[in-house]
Amino acid sequence: MAIADSLIRVTDLKKYYNHGAIKALDGVTVDINKGDVMVVIGPSGSGKSTFLRSLNLMEMPTGGAILFDGVDITKKKVRNEAGKMVKLDIDKHRQKMGMVFQHFNLFPHMTILDNMTLAPVQVKHISKAEAGEKAKKLLERVGLADRADAYPIQLSGGQKQRVAIVRALMMEPEVMLFDEPTSALDPEMVGEVLDVMKELAQEGMTMVVVTHEMGFAREVGNRVLFMADGQLLEQGAPADIFEHPRHPRLKDFLSKVL
């Protein structure tokens, strides 16, 4: 893992509540490289969602640094190219990080097409026609071309999550963050969402995935992080993590979920 490929460099990330009485994240350090499919596993309350949500500052960390594109996005002010201190434009960085949520969070008052074209049109200022064209191509890829004019309420859970994924892809992100994307789905719909994610991984998209789907972690992931009590306890290739776990907490966790 060459340092030059590092896309997101997380250093000693901390998130404390109640004066440090609750440590949701307690010093997590990890490099996320281009093309990584990093799967984060761990018991509930281990801080894996907090970790993921910190990466695009949905949660503001208490301490530590997140270097993305060479900029520490946890700082309020950063040095620009000219060397002047300017206010950090977090929106600009978020455009490059797609996020998929457990509860889909599609916009219920808009059609599927409008859900997808809103951000590209408003933020990237591409024309509505062009965005629509692109949206239809993406919808076709996930088998939902005929639902472009439907409203989210008319879709099944699996369909909603597939739309949520392509909605994030519309912004052409450099990395995709998945926060338990299949946890709110009926069991028979988990597969269709995982298939889309797998395809995305094979195309070389950098992905960070918080999930309880151990099969996905083993098959698609190239790195697995195990978190507990806000700490990163073990990381490695899926085969190592699942076949030769070292940390007792990981052994205990795997014995319960596998």
Partner: protein, 261 residues
């Protein structure tokens, strides 16, 4: 006291006054709604603003913001939100009649703001009508702002997160995602407030606005009838309020698109 057909016939001799009174009430309500809604939007935005001039107190030397402790508490003080909150609480905790008299007798006193005695929109006396509108708007703005704020806060936080994760700014998220859903949620409450404004505008007759209530007083004084003019005016108010709530209910149904199918 009895009710009679001839009593109504005598009341209807004042039809012209009732007509002008009704128009006056409509204008009063209309301007109040417009002004009040603009004020409410400003107040709601103020109360939800993120302006914290003392923020630097919570900054650590390496550029992070502390979240806990006394300095963090002080750093969260938002003077804009504070002013709006005080305004809303004071307006809601004092009688409308007192507010009306303060506006009419103090603010629009001829030594402070001297309005010319001219008529506007045909027959409305500006120096009575304008203070009435201002007082009503100041009052309804406070109530409407609470409705708007509740509506905005009722929108699921996941909606904001999704919008922001796509790179939309705070303002764009408000405009395209939160407000459309919030307005749909609060339309019934807004309709209720609009109806309340129409009814409460009757209070402005106490400062001499020639609205429907003034027409009643004139008819009562001219005919020595008590009941008939009051029944007529009650019917006229109903004709104003009932369609208003029905029209908003229609828009509410139309905005249900995407809710259930």
């Amino acid at each position: 006291m009895s009710i009679s057909v001839s009593g109504f016939e005598r009341t209807f001799q004042y039809a012209q006054m009732f007509k002008e009174g009704m128009l006056c009430t409509v204008y009063l309500s209309l301007f109040t709604v417009i002004l009040g809604f603009m004020l409410a939007l400003v107040l709601a935005v103020m109360r939800m603003s993120n302006f914290r001039p003392l923020r630097f107190l919570a900054m650590t030397s390496d550029g992070h913001a502390r979240e806990e402790g006394f300095r963090a508490f002080v750093s969260r003080f938002n003077p804009i939100s504070f002013v709006a909150t005080v305004y809303v609480e004071v307006i809601r905790a004092t009688p409308m009649l007192v507010q009306l008299f303060i506006v009419y007798q103090v603010v629009f006193d001829k030594d402070v703001i001297n309005l010319p005695s001219v008529t506007v929109l045909g027959f409305l006396k500006l120096n009575r009508f304008l203070p009435g509108v201002v007082a009503l708007a100041l009052n309804s703005g406070a109530y409407l702002s609470e409705i708007i704020r509740a509506g905005i806060q009722s929108v699921d936080g996941g909606q904001t997160e999704a919008a922001r994760s796509l790179g939309l700014s705070q303002g764009q998220t408000m405009r395209f995602i939160v407000l459309p859903q919030a307005i749909k949620n609060i339309l019934p409450a807004i309709a209720n407030e609009f109806v309340t404004i129409i009814k409460e505008s009757a209070i402005t007759y106490t400062i001499g606005v020639a609205d429907l209530m003034a027409a009643v007083k004139a008819a009562q004084a001219g005919t020595f009838l008590v009941l008939e003019p009051l029944l007529v005016v009650a019917a006229l108010y109903f004709c104003l309020t009932f369609p208003t709530s029905k029209i908003i209910a229609y828009f509410e149904r139309r905005m249900r698109r995407g809710d259930r199918r």
